[in-house]
Symmetry: C2
Subunit: 207 residues, 2 copies
């Protein structure tokens, strides 16, 4: 399956939602699904679903629908999650704890394999089976454990420093929970998951 | 300022990022900004910024740029955050703690005013100045305190039940951190902030 052209951010945000639904169907032994069924469960317009899936060359068969297993493989490939992706969390506060506990929910070869903090009192403490490491060990750990993604859960004033360290260590993508905009001159993808932005986007849809 | 037509989800996701940047500029006494300056700091194509802002009828002046204060007011209006928006958090685990501590970062009249849990051992415990309340008090509290948004930070198996309670209480928008798709037949906006989806979207941008 060749990668198609650039897919819009909105589609990329919906694909994980389609994937979760399709995976549930597969677990329940369902082999085909129509855009109507998907749309009704996911509260997305079926025409939107057909358009989204067509964007990467996937067309359902009229009257039959999409092949669930094929579509799962296709979406996993588009999202790059048909390979193992190791993740480091920096910041072992409440949010770092909550996220590290999330490992059970992560699917598709994604796994948090290391967590870092700067507070010596936390070093060695265990969260979800991971020992909290000093930030000084980040670079070495990223290299030896082949970590590709970083999650920033430190306070805002420390986030740029942590981002610089992650990028310097060779991290390729960052999910930033700190409420600041990060800067870099390197080719690293930075996504924002901060609460303020999420709530502001949500507020738009209020009456 | 009249509301313009439906703005795309991708634009709605970028507006909070523009807003944060513009607010910083304003705090530093900057009164005008060009799309080039914005794009360079935010790592967004200036043409994209101009297109996004044009979507709600805002055009900068050639050679001068955008009026920072006017643009802030316009974006706040579009996002419905020029009014007070009260928020309830359901789930007082690590994530609920982390989010409630976020109140200091929330701007623009958004405020978490209540937090709920079902564990009697937690009732009365204080997080960021808020006493944890029994879920049974949700409906009453939402009404009397005029709460419009809900944040779900409970485990996946409890999330649908909590969503039903929030919607029944009259909540208009939900930000769901639990890793399941929620269903409702009511006109309520549900946004997803779960980690798996965020990481999967991020993975797309890896090489």
């Amino acid at each position: 399956m060749a990668k198609t052209e650039k897919i819009s951010e909105a589609v990329i945000r919906r694909l994980p939602i389609y994937l979760r639904y399709l995976t549930h169907l597969q677990e329940m032994g369902i082999t085909t699904v129509s855009s109507q069924q998907m749309g009704s469960t996911l509260d997305v317009n079926p025409a939107q679903i057909r358009k989204d899936l067509a964007a990467f060359g996937e067309f359902g068969k009229k009257g039959i629908g999409y092949d669930v297993q094929y579509l799962i493989g296709k979406i996993r490939h588009i999202l790059n999650i048909d390979q193992e992706l190791r993740i480091a969390v920096v910041g072992a506060g409440h949010l770092g704890h909550a996220i590290s506990n999330y490992n059970d929910y992560l699917r598709d070869n994604m796994r948090i394999v290391a967590i870092f903090d700067t507070d010596p009192q936390k070093f060695g403490e265990e969260i979800a089976g991971l020992k909290i490491q000093p930030l000084a060990e980040l670079k070495q750990t990223v290299k030896t454990r082949h970590i590709r993604l970083g999650i920033i859960t430190v306070p805002d004033f420390a986030a740029q420093m942590v981002a610089d360290e992650l990028i310097d260590a060779g991290i390729e993508g960052i999910l930033n929970f700190a409420p600041i905009t990060l800067r870099t001159d390197k080719e690293v993808r930075i996504d924002y998951a901060d609460l303020t932005s999420s709530l502001q986007s949500l507020a738009y849809y209020l009456n």
